[in-house]
């Protein structure tokens, strides 16, 4: 628990010298506006209330890891030196998270195509149907619009469905349900209904899967108010984010990646839950901040090796939380390095990188020594041919070149 309060203290001191407009007002989110000046309204969640909120969370799961720093083994609970943990693949980590949550709460259920008897097209739900029954691990017909709506309707009464899209691209058929009913119901009902669904599935550019099966839906979903989006990249954060997403009372979309399912890692034996809105510090550094998520993290780390050999010291952050952005961690990094490169798999137009660029420019303008560089995929449908597909996404040499140019 100590780490949480420490963080609060650090935050309080930061806000005093943050570069915000002096005309803004502070008021608690629960009290009404007492006075208004100009056009700025700031809603601040009361610090004391935040503490009690976190305490409640901590009471439920003391293992809420709010300081998910992957490279500092002594501070994070990720690698407790005493126990070695167990090694597994990313899809097994997702399954572990799912299974633990289903064991813990009877209301958690899975629905999707081939999740039950087949065990999931990527084996994420293998073995769960024989254990929990056909109603809790539900094989649906191929009707994304309807079964996503069904999951949301069930969530309105208190169930916690985990809805799987066999490929994220298929969820475009359920866009209406996700946007209107999932994201907005809590608001339009005045708070009466909560929609604790998790919508998950693999997306991203795979190995020559073709245009329709290589889509990046995070750019389409990011404007929907009321949902949260997270992207996992390692077995450790996959399990932690899955558990956090299931426990969250808000609708969470968990983006997995087709190419990352067979990553191997040793994760702790103890139960742990990660913070949904927190970014992960992959490699601390001094010269430049590289922001990335999902599969591009590995391209960045590959480029980082080359960069280190060339004498650069990049700081790599896996942003993990795509909505909302963890501007706190990102901001601290920018205040240190003053240079930002965003490496993403979304397309140039309207992707996560575009929004992140805008958010950083708005909030940290004064700390930037150079314009933000955003490396994204090309604005083309993903071609089938292997060489063309390689050129669609960002490759490590491009990242190295961008860093070299930025840090001249």
């Amino acid at each position: 628990m100590a780490s949480i309060f420490q963080r609060v203290g650090a935050v309080a001191s930061l806000s005093s010298n943050a570069s915000f407009d002096t005309k803004k007002l502070h008021l608690s989110s629960r009290r009404s506006l007492s006075e208004r000046k100009a056009s700025f309204v700031v809603i601040r969640s009361d610090a004391a209330k935040m503490n009690t909120g976190l305490k409640k969370i901590g009471g439920r799961a003391d293992q809420l890891v709010t300081n998910a720093v992957a490279t500092k083994p002594d501070t994070s609970a990720a690698s407790t030196a005493s126990k070695p943990g167990h090694e597994l693949l990313l899809f097994e980590a997702l399954r572990e998270g799912l299974e633990e949550e289903m064991e813990r709460d009877q209301n958690v259920c899975i629905m999707g195509e081939d999740v039950g008897h087949y065990g999931g097209s990527y084996k994420v739900s293998k073995g769960l149907a024989p254990k929990y029954g056909d109603l809790r691990v539900l094989d649906t017909p191929i009707a994304e619009n309807a079964f996503t709506g069904m999951g949301i309707g069930a969530a309105m009464t208190g169930l916690r469905p985990v809805i799987e899209g066999m490929n994220m691209g298929f969820l475009l058929l359920a866009f209406n349900q996700i946007s209107n009913n999932c994201g907005m119901l809590h608001y339009t009902s005045g708070g009466q209904f909560k929609i604790p669904v998790v919508i998950r599935g693999p997306g991203g550019v795979g190995r020559q899967l073709g245009a329709e099966h290589s889509q990046r839906l995070e750019s389409y979903f990011q404007s929907i108010p009321g949902i949260q989006m997270v992207a996992c990249s390692t077995p450790y954060n996959a399990k932690g984010l899955m558990k956090a997403a299931i426990r969250s009372d808000n609708p969470v979309i968990l983006f997995e990646h087709v190419l990352l399912y067979n990553l191997k890692e040793t994760i702790p034996d103890e139960e742990y839950v990660l913070n949904l809105e927190e970014a992960e510090m992959v490699r601390p550094g001094e010269h430049v901040t590289i922001l990335t998520y999902s599969r591009m993290r590995y391209h960045v780390m590959q480029a980082a090796k080359t960069l280190v050999n060339k004498g650069f010291d990049p700081e790599v952050i896996d942003i993990r939380s795509l909505k909302p952005f963890d501007l706190h961690t990102i901001g601290n990094s920018i205040k240190k390095t003053h240079r930002v490169i965003i490496v993403e798999e979304c397309m140039r137009t309207g992707g996560i990188g575009a929004s992140l660029t805008a958010a950083i420019n708005e909030n940290f303008q004064d700390y930037l020594d150079a314009p933000i560089v955003c490396l994204s995929s090309q604005d083309v449908p993903t071609p089938y041919a292997g060489t063309l597909e390689e050129w669609t996404v960002v490759q490590p040499p491009q990242i190295v070149a961008a860093v070299e140019q930025l840090c001249r």
Binding site: V11, S15, A18, F20, H26, L27, R31, R36, S39, F40, V42, I43, R44, A47, M50, G53, L54, K56, I57, L64, L135, T140, P141, A143, N145, A146, T148, G149, M150, I152, G153, A154, A155, T157, G158, L159, N176, Q177, N180, N181, H186, Y187, T188, S189, G190, Q192, F193, P225, Q228, A244, S248, N250, N275, L276, E277, E278, P324, L327, H328, G331
Partner: protein, 396 residues
Amino acid sequence: MALARRSSNLLKPLSTASSSSSSSFLHRRPFSTDDSTTITIETSVPFTGHNCEPPSRSIDTSPKELMTFFTDMALMRRMEIAADSLYKSKLIRGFCHLYDGQEAVNIGMEAAITKKDCIITAYRDHCIFLGRGGTLLESFSELMGRQAGCSRGKGGSMHFYKKDACFFGGHGIVGAQVPLGCGLAFAQKYRKEDHVTFTMYGDGAANQGQLFEALNMAALWDLPAILVCENNHYGMGTAEWRAAKSPSYYKRGDYVPGLKVDGMDAFAVKQACKFAKEHALKNGPIILEMDTYRYHGHSMSDPGSTYRTRDEISGVRQERDPLERIRKLIMAHDIATEKELKDIEKLARKEVDEAIAKAKESPMPEESELFTNVYRKGYGVESFGADRKELRATLP
């Protein structure tokens, strides 16, 4: 058809009624009603079944139920007409879809089910909300966007909800509520509850693909879902025969049984819903097609007379009006006099006017309400913004 006649006590208007067992919305009743007498009524037309044996045409009721039906329908009718004039005086904005003419569907349904059975419908939801126990004040406040509204003014006409009475809304996109309704039924089956879900949609939505997707799943897993098609014969401005190859909506479930019901006859609706509930709990989904009619246009921006003749509208009003049917039944069985029924209608009008006045006093939502209820607190949603504690926004 046996009519058990018995003259009920008609108290003088000034005496207070023993209304402890009354389940109607109005508070004062100048007459007492009898619960023990049974009156047997026949529905206007027999039921037509598809893949099922239709229920009997004879229904038992009591004077009390008749009076309740009349009072509630009069209130609903009044509310919708008042909403019409509020819209024209620009106090209600946006879309406003009125239910007058279709009241019997809701009244009959509520009489057959409990508050633990779920109802979900589309945007013609004001009267459904009232039927589920919502108050006039919440209704009008929500329509005018005030704080006292059922969704705190943030939903509007198409987003009425009442969680404690299992009323799940209130949805703007045509047909999107049908998969949600199957989800409600799924949860009921998951929890092994003894309740059903009534998923309501219109003849326009009956052509949506997601409806058949949801119906397939409901039939596959025997979910206790009852799909109720409120067929008012016009999908927005398009007549049903111009939109559907097969306007027999009760048959379109194919392997799912269906029942065609006269939706202007509250007792037919009640009988059908009772039958459907028993069926759904045992055998899975069933489709009910309610043959009904709306007097207003699709919404307030539609006059309703460009695609149908005024003769048709007034013809239905004269021959099939649900309120008039109950009035005639009440008078035929000597349960109340014409004057008393008119008094009830006057009382309904008064209640509605009072609710509107009170709703007008309710303030608009505070500016901070713009940001409430976007997320629920818990599991880290506190951390927002550049320093995890502040969310900065610019209001015009």
